[in-house]
Symmetry: none
Subunit: 373 residues, 2 copies
DNA sequence: GACTGAGCTGAATCTTACA
DNA sequence: ATGTAAGATTCAGCTCAGT
């Protein structure tokens, strides 16, 4: 049953072996994919449930409550249940993929290792793992772990010797004529891009369009067929339409299907020049003082002094410094030394190499050029 | 048989249940770990082999080579063999780990998904996946994929509810007073750091010391026992010695054991004061608010207020406080004032000394340093 | 209109000691 | 084991109200 571009799977007359281009299928993704013809799709992008296994509520330091992903679709009883679900959708995706098509999956440490292993078991050949480095991740409020600041994507072909598509030149052009690396810095999806219904976010895990933009530009050509079995708010469809690719979206939730359809209806295909607007900005590398200690440019225990040699501070193993019983960052201790409200420790502090004083700022330059080399 | 700090496993008189601190064991890591006492090691760092094609037969527990068979079967067999090898060394590592110890593993997309899944299967609880973003990776010469510019580490505790060690403040200090994220930018190991024998690099996959430096500083305390079952050139041992941690290294190759021993012999430990790092408040001795009243740092009857002077509470002789008829601890009344689920009264409440507001936390610091004196 | 500052939010496996 | 209370803890980006 087709309703305004919406294809309803259950009981509907979807013809087997017909490819429902630029349509959204409401239903179970495994059953829906099994209805489609084999070797017919150029790309599968999948954002499956992560199986987060969250505990109770989490509160922010200022008292707010974190709006966590507690939806039923993310709950699995055991790893085994999750694994067999994963194997099933991977098998179905593999069948409909063309032999030279590729698969993208995104996940976090909760699920990505299981997905990656299963995908290799099914015969997929991993081409890259890609790190989405979030420019603005949610902090770790309780100070219990490292800030979870990235998600992982796996890009895989159907087999080891498949002739997959990779638009090398386009990627290089997008990255200021440097080869595109396996780590991508992109902001999370927020602001005007976030799809909302009555002011409330429509989906808890909407992905940024920039992510799909780069994926489709890298691994498909115009006119390609892109299938997303976990369509959600339809980011994949929106970007595919904008870039002149065909999409097929599948989602179990009628609500999400409607939201996605509305969203995609509002998308206009892009002319080439406008594509440039989404290029990534290259961030100037921020160097923490601790990195210099860690990399041996400054030894723990070294003494720092100012140009007038009036103050002396001692460097500790973690990059904090100590002076007269006070401890803190080079900036904090520099400020305390002078009784100033603030201080740029990079220019204030120097290392005495016996002959002369070397400004920390010069050591930072040295470290930066080491990074560039 | 112990030879100049080198412990030879095969046939040697290594006593079961003795912990060979600051030693290198030459032998199979699974057998060697199984000789060590259970619950005795604080940290395991593992850089396991991942070259499936060349190393397949090495992982066979029974021996017996795999004949060159059809591609599909060979691959399946290789994964199987690699998986059981992985499960074996993970089990052995898990046995010798203390219940509050943690495991670090590093790998690439070739093996990390299999290792991660197996590690979850064995009961380890993933705390973070960490991305080592290489500042200077090798380019992809053929232009067929994204430049493989990172490796992945997994950090895991022995079980879900284990009380693992994480030096939050030290990590934050090392990163300019921002939480340390899950993506670490570090240069690859090259130049003078690269261990060479007769001008040729001694090991193909030597890891940078900066990587181990951050790992040990983040997840161990001085004096901890760190075991590395794939010791190679002994980077783990070198950094452990420098940071005042004990190491136990295991490697199958006598050649690597010798190289590592020479390298570690040349390392000088940091002196203790340089090894100091920022301590988290959680580690500081607990001070009841009543003690401040008792010792005259705050007078009974004094008025407390918040930074915005919106709320006022009155201190009573027993260290409880009162506000609008409610009475309780500084935390309870602070929470009630804001309508928040909880509150740190130490940082919320201030005393007005006529000129400015003094945070209770600063009075507590004064009391604590008074205790030390 | 431009600027400032307070407030809100994002795939989160998010405390510890003691009774 | 469970419950209770102490007390430790946040970064970047966007929105919106108020100069």
């Amino acid at each position: 049953m087709i309703q305004g571009g919406l294809l309803l799977l259950d009981g509907g007359p979807m013809r087997r072996n017909a490819l429902p281009l630029d349509m959204i299928i409401q239903g179970d993704c495994i059953a829906a994919m099994n209805e489609l013809p084999e070797n017919s799709v150029d790309l599968v992008f999948a954002d499956p449930p992560y199986n987060l296994q969250l505990g109770g509520d989490l509160f922010r330091p200022e008292g707010g409550r974190v709006d966590a992903v507690t939806d039923d679709w993310d709950k699995f009883d055991t790893f085994q249940t999750y694994d067999s679900f994963t194997a099933e959708w991977l098998k179905a995706a593999r069948r409909i993929l063309k032999d030279d098509g590729t698969l993208w999956v995104i996940g976090s440490y909760h699920n990505i290792f299981r997905v990656g292993a299963k995908l290799q078991d099914e015969g997929f050949w991993i081409l890259n793992d890609i790190i989405w480095r979030k420019a603005n991740p949610m902090p770790n409020f309780k100070g219990t772990r490292f800030t979870n600041a990235h998600e992982t994507l796996i890009w895989a072909s159907k087999s080891e010797n498949a002739r997959y598509r990779f638009n090398y030149k386009a990627m290089k052009a997008m990255n200021e004529e440097l080869q595109m690396r396996s780590d991508w810095v992109l902001p999370i999806c927020s602001g005007g891009e976030r799809v909302k219904v009555d002011g409330v976010k429509a989906h808890p895990t909407q992905k940024p369009e920039a992510l799909l933009y780069r994926i489709l530009l890298a691994s498909t050509e115009p006119g390609a067929v892109v299938l997303d079995p976990f369509f959600g708010t339809g980011t994949t469809g929106a970007v595919a339409k904008r870039l002149g690719r065909h999409y097929i979206g599948i989602d179990r939730e009628p609500r999400y299907c409607r939201v996605a359809q509305d969203r995609i209806d509002g998308v206009l295909p892009l002319d080439e020049s406008a594509m440039l607007t989404m290029q990534s900005k290259k961030a100037a590398p921020r160097v923490p003082f601790g990195a210099l200690v860690e990399n041996g440019l400054i030894q723990p225990g070294a003494t720092l002094t100012d140009l007038g040699r009036r103050y002396r501070a001692r460097v500790r193993a973690d990059g904090s410094v100590q002076m007269d019983g006070h401890e803190g960052s080079i900036h904090q201790i520099g400020a305390a030394a002078q009784g100033a409200p603030s201080c740029n420790g990079w220019t204030f502090w120097h290392v005495d190499d016996g002959k002369s004083l070397i400004c920390l700022d010069r050591l930072r330059d040295a470290y930066r050029s080491n990074l560039d080399a």
